[in-house]
């Protein structure tokens, strides 16, 4: 039994303009110590997926199953869910300034989290908050614990968030764009910290990001989302060295090349823009932007299936034949990387 298993998760929001299909059929499973990277553009449904897992996608019509240690989180009562949220499944949000309360001391916010879940004295909780801040590399934690969030720099706030998320040694850590608001040097510190803590405590991590560099660094498995649907699921190396889905190719080609021989080459962006989640294109939702589109693509929606029978773990949602996929990748996409 997987630690966390998501089956056919759908989150739809009713709006005046129609139904927004923010997440439409996402499935994945996560083992202890494993890292899953969820990649996609804004509006691809990656954040909503994780809010739904945590029971935070308010106002949405949610269907499917989210099995945590065999129990379905979506069917739980609020009180049961509250016992799991924060303690077993913790979350790091993108913007540390708006996710810390500006009126409360950093230490008090960490302490509150510990007191909410465990029967310990205030003093013990406070001491643990100090230890946690030290663990995430904040100097003089016994003094900084009484600082307010505005007295922390961006990187320190993010580290305080991590300290809070790790306070109760969660089994699953969901990091939603954990480093997007940070400088590269601080980003390196934070990623390094998350990785080391994972090694130490065996936490399973879901990292949501649009930065393919972060995924290349951290993830074991990669899930690519487009228009609320998963379009490719594979292991990290395959995602970068042999992906099957034209959208994944497009993402890789949009980046400035890493090879010295290609420096200054023209970038190859994906044409057009992400679709509206209310009026998704018929057939494959990527078809209007796909350079390899053919008749079937606009008629029928491709299913998320293994394209190569030899690699049943590598799923992609695309009508192109395996031969075409491999030929296009090797001849057209890979040489530009």
């Amino acid at each position: 039994m997987a630690l966390l298993e998501v089956r056919d998760l759908r989150v739809h929001f009713e709006t005046d303009d129609g139904v927004v299909r923010a997440v439409d059929g996402v499935s994945f499973s996560l083992e202890p110590g494993q890292t899953l990277g969820i990649v996609g553009e804004s509006g691809s449904g990656k954040s909503v997926t994780n809010l739904a897992i945590m029971g935070l996608a308010r106002g949405g019509r949610i269907s499917g199953e989210v099995l945590f240690q065999g129990k379905d989180l979506l069917k739980m009562h609020t009180a049961e869910l509250r016992a799991i949220r924060g303690k077993q499944i913790a979350m790091i949000f993108q913007d540390p300034l708006s996710s810390l309360h500006p009126y409360y001391k950093v230490g008090a916010q960490i302490t509150e989290m510990i007191l909410a879940h465990e029967k310990v004295s205030k003093k013990d909780a406070h001491d643990r908050a100090v230890d946690l801040l030290r663990l995430v590399g904040i100097s003089r934690p016994e003094r900084r614990v009484d600082d307010y969030p505005h007295q922390f720099s961006g990187g320190m706030r993010q580290r305080a968030m991590i300290a809070m998320a790790l306070a109760l040694d969660p089994a699953v850590l969901i990091a939603d764009e954990p480093t997007t608001a940070l400088d590269v040097t601080v980003q390196a510190q934070v990623l390094d910290l998350i990785e080391r803590l994972q090694e130490e405590f065996g936490t399973a991590i879901i990292v949501i990001t649009h930065d393919l560099g972060v995924v290349a660094d951290m993830a074991d498995e990669v899930l690519v989302m487009y228009g609320g649907k998963p379009v490719e699921v594979t292991d990290r190396r395959t995602a970068y060295y042999g992906p099957h889905m034209p959208y994944t190719w497009g993402l890789l080609q949009s980046l400035p090349s890493t090879g010295a021989e290609h420096t200054g080459d023209r970038l190859l962006p994906i044409k057009g823009m992400p679709p509206s989640l209310i009026h998704l294109p018929s057939g494959c939702s990527f078809s209007p932007r796909c350079p390899y589109v053919f008749e079937l693509c606009t008629r029928e929606e491709p299913k998320l299936l293994p394209a190569d029978p030899q690699k049943p773990e590598h799923l992609s949602a695309c009508h192109l034949s395996l031969d075409d996929k491999e030929r296009i990748w090797q001849q057209e996409v890979a040489p530009t990387r």
């Binding site: 553009e41 990187g155 400088d183 510190q189 803590l197 560099g213 993402l251 090349s257 044409k271």
Partner: protein
């Protein structure tokens, strides 16, 4: 200056430019109690037709520098020349004329466009301000601009809210282009955009540069984007330029330890490469620009710092490769910053140099649980 730029007249020349923001106390009699040294003595030249990248962490003064060049902020000390003319203290009509030549593209395509104005008015505003075109002529020119940047000219009467992030950034580009400037300062022009859209905007900027012979000062914290667009790159740290080099050379062989650490921190979208290289992790944060460290400002975080770095400030000078760096102990080609040991005591902000494989130097304290 590096060899490739010798003997050419710069379009912009900054000499000893400083910008201090006063910190005051008191309500009626405001006393100055300190100064933020945002930009602290920058000498820089920008040559016609080139793209000069400016990189550095938050708070290193790169945006302030951009605003000084655009004369959106007055300089505290030093001088700025544009096209051979001293623009440091320009006022009135002179300043207005200069503004036609220097335009800016801002980071956030949401807050840099007035949400209550139509696109036509936003892009056409420069024509009104400078009295260049009105009526039908103005509309025609605005629509031409919209076409140039890849917007549908029929959307002339739409509001910014009706456009996506990438399209809004194109509106910003069209507005900057309206007066046919010589220099465009791009302050994080693609940071707020998705990767696929980011590539579209970068390509657009490159095309426009060729078509209109533009010069760019390109500020970004995404180092791979800067490498892609820039001819030369200036690395800034705490208000100073610490390295100024040809883009290719900088990325291949950084001279300043700060540039080296910065570059090693960039996550490369390539699983094999990212795991074979060593990542140098600078601990701690950038020190406060109110009271910057003595000597070399990077010494409290530098893996190569020696006593000399504390006592003596290194000048920005020519190093062996023909590039400029401000360091007493620049990196040699092939030198591994991860093996360096500082020769001085560094406090809380000690530099920990971690290869990606090391996972041992967690704080020696107990785990968060005494469980």
């Amino acid at each position: 200056m590096s060899a490739s730029t010798e003997g050419r007249e710069p379009l912009v020349r900054l000499t000893g430019v400083k910008k201090y923001f006063p910190i005051t106390q008191g309500i009626i009699f405001r006393r100055e109690v300190g100064r933020v040294h945002a930009v602290d003595g920058v000498d820089l030249e920008v040559f016609p037709g080139e793209t000069l990248g400016v990189v550095g962490e938050t708070g290193c003064g790169k945006s302030t520098l951009a605003r000084l060049v655009a004369r959106l902020l007055p300089v505290t000390e030093g001088s700025i020349e544009f096209d051979g003319q001293d623009i440091t203290d320009l006022k009135g009509n002179g300043l207005r004329a200069m503004r036609r030549e220097v335009q800016m593209i801002f980071q956030d395509p949401y807050s840099s466009l007035n949400p209550r104005k139509r696109v036509g008015a936003i892009i056409g505003d420069p024509f009104d301000i400078h009295g260049i075109a009105e009526g039908k002529e103005r509309k025609k020119r605005v629509q031409e601009l919209m076409e140039t940047v890849g917007l549908n000219p029929e959307h002339y009467n739409r509001f910014p809210a009706e456009f996506s992030g990438g399209q809004r950034q194109r509106i910003g580009v069209a507005r900057a282009l309206a007066l046919r400037p010589k220099l465009i300062i791009c302050d994080e022009p693609v940071s707020a955009l998705d990767v696929s859209i980011q590539a579209q905007v970068i390509n657009l900027l490159e095309d426009l540069q060729e078509e209109f012979h533009l010069t760019y000062v390109f500020i970004a914290h995404d180092l791979s984007v800067v490498r892609h667009v820039s001819d030369r790159v200036a690395v800034m740290y705490l208000g100073k330029v610490v390295e100024l080099a040809d883009a290719k050379r900088l990325y291949a062989e950084p001279k300043h330890p700060y540039s080296g650490a910065l570059l090693s921190a960039v996550p490369v979208p390539d699983p094999d490469k990212i795991h074979e290289r060593k990542r140098v992790i600078l601990l701690g944060d950038v020190p406060s620009p109110i009271d910057p460290p003595s000597g070399c400002r990077f010494h409290p975080r530098c893996p190569k710092a020696q006593q000399r770095c504390v006592d003596e400030e290194p000048p920005l000078e020519l190093k062996a490769s023909g590039d400029l760096a401000a360091c007493h102990f620049p990196l040699e080609p092939g030198e591994d910053l991860a093996d360096a040991k500082p020769g001085i005591e560094q406090d809380a902000a000690t530099v920990a140099v971690a290869g990606v494989t090391s996972g041992t130097d967690l704080a020696p304290d107990e785990p968060p649980h005494p469980a």
